[in-house]
Symmetry: C2
């Protein structure tokens, strides 16, 4: 059945880290300072673990502060090519040079061309996200650039999704929330949004204990084609 007006979303809200951006630069810089590959494997899950933990006890921290503390712990025992704090700063600096996945720009443009309100909603910093979109030349295709730092709690706390709903001024059911992370889609679904899982690797696995995503696509361009049926 082709999508109809009834299923076309009024707004598409997109996660940012790994959903829009390729964080490969972070792993590259970790390797450059002397960290072993296990540190790169653990870095992002550990940042989310600790960021979520702070939200659970109602005292959330900025992403950069959590990330710096995780890096200090992970790099403390490593044989680094520079002092620890310099290594931490160098790795965090990678967030200022990460790029978008190649499917993102075309997908964003297509949604905008069809009058869909686009918003980015990140657990990361607002300025970092703005800079990412500017560097990639897609800032004008994202109507609202939003960070949980404005409200405090990190996704998947309901208040984080509520912030996007407030700014976009739409009902939850009118939103298609897009992410590569099941925990994020699950939170958006709990907030009443429809969800689209970007499965770039095409693994086809999805957590049994998460709500099933409304749509699955190989990239944002593929998703736009599915949703807009053009």
């Amino acid at each position: 059945m082709p999508p109809t007006e009834a299923t076309r979303p009024a707004a598409v809200v997109l996660d940012v880290n790994e959903t829009l951006s390729d964080l490969g630069a972070v792993g590259d810089r970790l390797a450059a300072v002397g960290a072993d590959p296990q540190v790169a494997a653990r870095f992002l899950p550990a940042v989310l673990r600790d960021g979520f933990a702070r939200t659970l006890r109602a005292d959330p921290l900025p992403f950069a502060d959590v990330a710096a503390d995780v890096l200090r712990a992970e790099l403390a025992g490593a044989r680094l090519d520079r002092p620890l704090e310099d290594a931490v700063a160098h790795v965090l600096g990678a967030f200022d040079e990460v790029v978008l996945h190649p499917d993102v720009a075309g997908g964003l443009r297509r949604f905008r061309d069809h009058g869909v309100v686009t918003a980015a909603l990140t657990n990361g910093g607002l300025a970092t996200c703005e800079a990412l979109l500017e560097r990639a030349g897609v800032r004008e295709d994202v109507v609202h650039v939003l960070s949980v730092e404005t409200v405090g709690p990190w996704k998947p706390h309901p208040a984080a999704y509520g912030h996007a709903l407030d700014v976009c001024a739409v009902a939850p059911a009118e939103v298609l929330f897009v992410a590569v992370h099941p925990w994020d889609l699950d939170g958006a679904a709990a907030a009443g949004m429809r969800t689209a899982y970007l499965d770039r690797a095409g693994t086809g696995t999805y957590p049994r204990h998460a709500s099933t995503p409304s749509l699955t696509a190989r990239g944002l361009d593929d998703l736009a084609r599915q949703v807009l049926a053009d």
Copy 2:
């Protein structure tokens, strides 16, 4: 200044995974089924990430269900020596054979000998924790074996620590909470407990954005000596 009655806790509440137990068996089984070392590095942070995420949206899941989903996702693309579900079951089975760190039994015994109420509070399953303590021959030295599954929210949600306070029937300030994980100590401190950080590796680093632990020790036996001053 030596500890006095004023600083001796009425109860010692202990985290379980990695604080009491050595999860090396999990890594061994991951390697045995064919997972690369990055999967072992990421496994526990990813389980906590996803378990915390479910608590954030007020729909917590049992530890074993979260762990199974993480393993399915992590192992889906790997070259395994057996079918995926068999590999997941084999790795999860490691939790039935993990052992205590060598400093734990002596420390527990010393607290019990001095009349301190001891409790284990795990984000894992209650039966798994009971079995761990039975296998190690220390079950009688732990007065209360508790799991967040009884109340729902995972640590560091305040309700998880509240469960231990209720069962031990003590005020928060009378409790010394013991863990190797800063996120857990931070949650216990937010709940009003004193905290003891077990730093077995002796790294000496602690997150800048976490509350400073009341005590630091190299193991549970060392901690008991510090607290009981005998």
